[in-house]
Symmetry: C2
Subunit: 204 residues, 2 copies
C-alpha cells in the first residue's frame, strides 16, 4: 500500500514536471519562429495562461520610467497602452523596481503595495504571482498571473514563471529584429573579432 | 515488489526530467545575463556538456554559405574560425541544410554524409547528435554532441537538445546586442505603432 501511494505521488510529480518543461519548450519554440511583437505577446499570454490555469495574465513593458500594459488575457483592448504605472507603484511597479518575484496566495488587494487604480477587474482578484521580464541584466517589463480565488503558488510553479520571465525578454527582443536590426557582419566575423571568453589561448 | 519496481522507475524518470528542465532553466538564465558572444558560447558549451555527458560539444555558426567552428569543449582554440564546412557538407552541413536533427548512436564515422576532414579527434567518435540553431525561422548554426563510445540517444535527450538549439539562437542574438543594436523607440512605443495580433479590436 505504501509503495502504491509512493508511486502515485511520484506519478503526479512527474506529470507536473513534464507540464512545466513543456511550457519552457513552448516558449523556446517561439524564439525559433518569426513573429511580430504583437504576435509574440499574444503567444506568451496563451502559453502562460494555459500553463498556470490563472484567470488573468497581464504583460507590462517599460516605457522610459513607466510600466505600460501591453498585453492581457482575457483581452482588455481598450486598456492596452493606456494603463500606466510608475516604477515602484503598486505590486507590479514594486516587482519591476526591486527585480524580485512576488507571490501572494490570497487577499492580494489588501497588500500595502497594492492600490486598485487600474480599472481592471483583476484588481479584485485574490492570488497574485508576478515576475520581472529581464534581458541582458535589464528589467524590461513584468508578467502578472492572477487567480480570482485564493491559490497557493508551489515552488515549482514560481520557478517556472521566473524562467518564463527570462525567456520572454528574449522573445520580445527577437520579435523586434528585422524591423530595426541589421547586422553589418555575420555572427562569425563578429565573434572572431573579439577576445576569447576565458584566459588568453596562445598558440603553444 | 511490482509496486516498488514501478516507484523506482518513476523516480528515475522524474530525476531525468528534472535534470532536463534544469538545462532549459540554465540556458534561459543566460538570456537574462549580460554576456559577450564568446562568454555566451562558452556558457552554452558548459551547460550542454554537463547536461549530455558527451565527450565533445561543438558549435558551428553560419558565415554567408559556410559553417564555421566557433566553439568547442574540450577547447580546440587553434581550430576556431579555421574549420569551415559548406552547407550540406558532412553531417553538420546536412543538419544545417535540411534543418533537421541527426542522431547516430554508433559508428557515426561510417555515415555516408560524414567525411573525416576536420582534423578534429571528434571525427573518430562513435555517437553523434546534432541539431540546428534556429532564430526567427532562420538556421544560424549547428550544435553537435559526440560520445567517444556508442551511446543511444533517448527521445527526451533529443527533445532537450532540440529546445536548447532554439534557445541558443536567442542567446547568441542577445549577446550581440549593445554592440550594434540601438533602439530608436521603446518596446512600448514600437508595439503601439503596430496592428494588433488577432482580429481588429474596435472600441465597442
Amino acid at each position: 500500500m505504501a509503495a502504491n501511494k509512493k508511486a502515485q505521488e511520484l506519478e503526479e510529480k512527474l506529470a507536473r514536471t513534464e507540464r512545466q518543461m513543456l511550457v519552457l519548450q513552448k516558449v523556446s519554440r517561439l524564439m525559433a519562429q518569426k513573429l511580430t511583437l504583437p504576435e509574440a505577446l499574444q503567444a506568451i499570454l496563451d502559453v502562460v495562461g494555459e500553463a498556470t490555469g490563472g484567470d488573468s495574465c497581464l504583460i507590462y513593458l517599460i516605457d522610459s520610467d513607466e510600466l505600460v500594459l501591453c498585453g492581457s488575457s482575457p483581452a482588455h483592448p481598450e486598456q492596452i497602452g493606456r494603463i500606466r504605472l510608475r516604477m515602484g507603484e503598486g505590486l507590479t511597479g514594486w516587482v519591476a523596481k526591486e527585480r524580485r518575484m512576488v507571490s501572494i496566495p490570497r487577499e492580494a488587494y489588501r497588500d500595502l503595495r497594492f492600490h486598485a487604480f487600474t480599472d481592471l477587474p483583476e484588481d479584485t482578484f485574490e492570488a497574485f504571482l508576478s515576475v520581472p521580464i529581464i534581458v541582458r541584466g535589464e528589467v524590461v517589463g513584468v508578467i502578472n498571473v492572477q487567480h480570482r480565488q485564493p491559490h497557493p503558488h508551489s515552488g515549482s510553479e514560481m520557478e517556472m514563471l521566473r524562467t518564463v520571465g527570462e525567456q520572454v525578454g528574449a522573445v520580445i527582443v527577437l520579435a523586434r529584429m528585422g524591423h530595426e536590426t541589421e547586422y553589418t557582419t555575420s555572427h562569425v566575423e563578429f565573434l572572431l573579432s573579439m577576445p576569447p571568453a576565458g584566459a588568453p589561448t596562445g598558440s603553444s
